[in-house]
């Protein structure tokens, strides 16, 4: 009976992981739509006024934040709750910085909304930013929760899911950056 329960728990956690990966795969589809619409309407045109270095800085920040999140996950895998919380907070901090850069860039209005490039630029990156905000919310929830829920080597699924999500949205943001600033 005990053995069966353990088997059930193992199967359940495998199901959660598989299901969450499926969810992230499904979330690729909206971005495929956005990228397709941009291609349909605008080809590979990039507005000359776009600030590639500012965008590059944002993308770099996102990669750093991803790295923090992933390393926080490996910390909890080694039962190091303090390091995990610490790195998670760093990931959140860098993520906030990323959002600040995006807001700064948009406030500059270097790309007019009324152009074909502009409308695709703002919709796609806006959707990407929405995913980032959602991800930040989840990361904060995990950071708050990590103390109360006693995450440890055997119990870190929530943190893992949040990290995967953060990696997913970070990668889409970086792909969107390459697609809209360079290609």
């Amino acid at each position: 009976m005990q053995e069966e329960a353990a088997l059930d728990a193992e199967r359940h956690s495998a199901a959660l992981q598989w299901g969450f990966r499926l969810f992230l795969m499904v979330q690729v589809i909206p971005f495929v739509v956005l990228f397709t619409v941009r291609y349909e309407l605008d080809g590979y045109y990039v507005a000359p006024t776009v600030n590639q270095w500012l965008g590059g800085a944002s993308a770099l920040l996102m990669l750093i934040s991803i790295w923090y999140a992933v390393s926080s996950l490996s910390a909890i895998r080694q039962d190091d709750l303090i390091a995990m919380q610490h790195r998670m907070k760093s990931a959140i901090g860098v993520g906030l910085l990323y959002m600040a850069l995006i807001i700064y860039e948009w406030s500059q209005r270097s790309i007019p909304v009324g152009t074909r490039y502009g409308e695709n630029f703002y919709t796609t990156l806006g959707v990407s930013a929405f995913y980032t905000v959602a991800g930040l919310f989840v990361l904060v929830a995990i950071a708050v929760r990590s103390g109360r829920a006693h995450f440890n080597r055997h119990n870190y699924w929530d943190a893992q899911a949040a990290t995967w999500y953060w990696v997913f949205q970070g990668l889409t943001a970086v792909v969107a950056y390459i697609y809209f600033y360079w290609i």
């Binding site: 728990a9 199967r11 359940h12 956690s13 495998a14 199901a15 959660l16 598989w18 299901g19 499926l22 969810f23 499904v26 979330q27 589809i29 909206p30 495929v32 739509v33 956005l34 619409v37 349909e40 309407l41 909304v113 009324g114 074909r116 409308e119 695709n120 919709t123 959707v127 929830a141 708050v144 929760r145 103390g147 109360r148 829920a149 929530d158």
Partner: protein
């Protein structure tokens, strides 16, 4: 492990009824977000309610509604590591609040879908009142009629046709049929259910923002030119499709991981195969249409020029039908599966060519993404007509496998013409009409004549009402003893089935003729020469509507007051019949161990589960 919230029985906590609290929180959130948006808008002198503020307020309202009905205690507090004060109710109240038991969620979904079906059906009745005469006499303005068309179509598509068999019967039956004690993401399905009332109400009340005229497809650039009601169309559909995405995710993972030992892919019940394929379709295509509608919403609110004369009109059409055609198969694939689920049981005969039936489902799923542009033969370059008519004609081959399996099973059987058995035959009969007329529509020259006429309207109502709704009602009767432990009245069940069969076929076969005679869609008035046939359709449609309501009344009556049903009234072999009716909270006391397929009948058929004696429900 996701821990379920357990009711604290130690002390009584007074709580507001969850749905009431949902409405209250939704109202507060709407006003709050609307006010904030109105306050930070830079231009002075704008009205308090604008399209932007209503959109943002609506998002808040839906979140408030979901939290209010119980997601606050069920999902948000646990996410932050707080144990809520109250848990899920265990009595009748659980049907009116956020729930995690897949059976409760299934019944909630069926109720939501059933109510939406009656509501949108009622709207169709007003359309048929109008069309009983060739001039306007019921609606005052044609945009009211066109709004009715749009609301009817959108509610039927996104909260009935897509939902009833997947969210409703799928949630209830799939875990039982695969011998699982629970679904994997039980909270997500619980959440998804409550998006249905939110979406249906949004759509139903969309005309208060202004009559919109695009119909359920929301074609641009008409959409961006329409009255503001169309934003509630985009938002309502977003809520409803989100519900289906969530449910599909849960069901796919449940089917992959929670099968009982021995329920191999080769033994998976037909209905579960149907739900699996349709869930994959949902997961691929619903996010696609959601993003398209978000783009259309932004196109209108900002405004952008994505899909008007300055952008690309055809891009929106392509994006819509990329989803739109798989949607058709999202609707009927579970119905195909139900035919071959119910026929062997009613015939007490082994399912014929099971593997071909499954292959059919899978190939329909795969091909359905390759045929979308046959909705656009009036819009395409000549060179594009060849491949799309080719794939469209080819998709009838795997569709035919469902017929083949059904026919092979019926041959030389002893088929019990019970109400579900009868309805399944009717469903095959009706869907055949839809399929055969689909062959005409796949031929571009014919299509160029009958496209956008009542011929097409009749064609897709044959597939959706005739195929899916008839199967849905059949499945409701078939599983009624399972879900309620009670039996319906055989006379009334058959009588009402024959009633809707005759009314349905009269109404919609006449509609083919009206279309061939040159009546186009989306019109409240038409040239007088079309009047006699339209009058026939209206009368038959009204009869059909009454028939559906009577079916609903009969099913609800049987559910509450019907005679007690035996444990396994049809002698079905699938696992759901091995537990008590209605099933206990965790479905099976002992996990069944399956050792043979579910569709083998005959005196020399092998036993299906190894531990039958342990499983037998204890009589109380």
């Amino acid at each position: 492990m996701a821990q379920n919230v357990v009711a604290t029985n130690t002390h009584k906590v007074r709580v507001m009824p969850p749905m009431l609290r949902g409405f209250l929180w939704a109202g507060i959130a709407f006003l709050l977000l609307n006010s904030i948006t109105a306050a930070i808008r830079p231009d002075v002198g704008h009205p308090f309610f604008t399209e932007v503020s209503i959109t943002i307020g609506w998002v808040g309202a839906v979140i408030g509604w979901l939290l209010g009905v119980g997601a606050y205690e069920g999902m948000v507090l646990p996410l932050f590591g707080v144990t809520p004060r109250v848990g899920e109710a265990t009595d009748w109240r659980r049907y009116f609040a956020f729930a995690t038991d897949h059976k409760v969620v299934g019944i909630q979904y069926l109720t939501s879908s059933g109510c939406a079906f009656i509501l949108a059906g009622g709207i169709a009745m007003t359309m048929r009142i109008e069309l009983a005469s060739s001039t306007m006499y019921f609606f005052h303005y044609s945009d009211q009629y066109l709004s009715a068309v749009g609301v009817h179509g959108a509610i039927m598509m996104f909260s009935v046709a897509t939902v009833a068999l997947v969210g409703g019967l799928g949630n209830y039956m799939v875990p039982l049929m695969i011998g699982a004690k629970t679904s994997v993401f039980s909270k997500l399905s619980g959440l998804g259910q409550w998006l249905i009332p939110a979406g249906v109400l949004t759509l139903a009340f969309s005309p208060i923002l202004g009559y919109w005229t695009t119909g359920w497809r929301g074609y641009e650039p008409l959409g961006s030119q329409d009255a503001s009601g169309i934003i509630f169309y985009y938002l309502g559909v977003a809520a409803l499709t989100m519900s289906s995405v969530i449910v599909s995710l849960n069901l796919v993972v449940t089917i992959v991981f929670n099968r009982a030992p021995g329920v191999t892919w080769a033994r998976l019940p037909m209905f579960v195969w149907g739900i699996l394929t349709v869930s994959i379709l949902n997961l691929i295509w619903l996010p696609e249409i959601q993003m398209t509608f978000i783009l259309q919403l932004l196109d209108r609110l900002v405004p952008l020029n994505l899909f008007n004369a300055a952008g690309s009109v055809l891009t929106q059409l392509e994006l819509f039908w990329l989803f739109g055609h798989p949607e058709v198969y999202i609707v009927v694939v579970p119905a195909f599966a139900l035919w071959n689920e119910i026929i062997p049981v009613m015939a007490q005969k082994s399912l014929f060519a099971r593997s071909w039936a499954v292959i059919g489902l899978i190939f329909v799923m795969m091909l359905s993404g390759l045929v979308w542009a046959h909705h656009m033969f009036t819009n395409m370059r000549n060179s594009e007509m060849f491949p799309f008519s080719f794939f469209t004609e080819m998709i009838s081959i795997p569709t035919g496998f469902a017929f083949m399996a059904a026919i092979g099973t019926l041959w030389k059987s002893r088929y019990r013409l019970t109400t579900p058995g009868l309805l399944i035959l009717m469903s095959i009969f009706n869907f055949l009409h839809g399929g055969v007329t689909g062959v005409f529509l796949a031929d571009p020259p014919v299509n160029l004549q009958v496209h956008d006429t009542m011929f097409v309207v009749a064609h897709f109502h044959y597939t959706i009402i005739g195929g899916m709704v008839f199967s849905w009602i059949a499945a409701m009767y078939y599983w009624l003893p399972k879900m309620s432990g009670r039996m319906y009245n055989e006379f009334w069940g058959k009588f009402l089935s024959i009633w809707i069969f005759i009314a349905f076929n009269t109404a919609f076969s006449t509609m083919f003729l009206v279309g061939l005679e040159g009546m186009n869609r989306w019109v409240p008035t038409y040239p007088p020469y079309l009047h006699p046939l339209n009058l026939i359709i209206s009368i038959a449609a009204w009869t059909l509507g009454v028939g559906f309501v009577l079916h609903a009344v009969h099913i609800v009556w049987a559910w509450k007051k019907g005679p007690r049903a035996p444990e396994n009234p049809w002698n079905g072999h699938t696992l759901e019949w091995l537990t008590s009716s209605p099933p206990p909270q965790h479905n099976f006391d002992v996990t069944p161990e399956v050792i043979d397929g579910f569709y083998n009948y005959g005196d020399d058929a092998d036993p299906i589960v190894a531990n039958l004696s342990e499983l037998k429900p204890k009589q109380t």
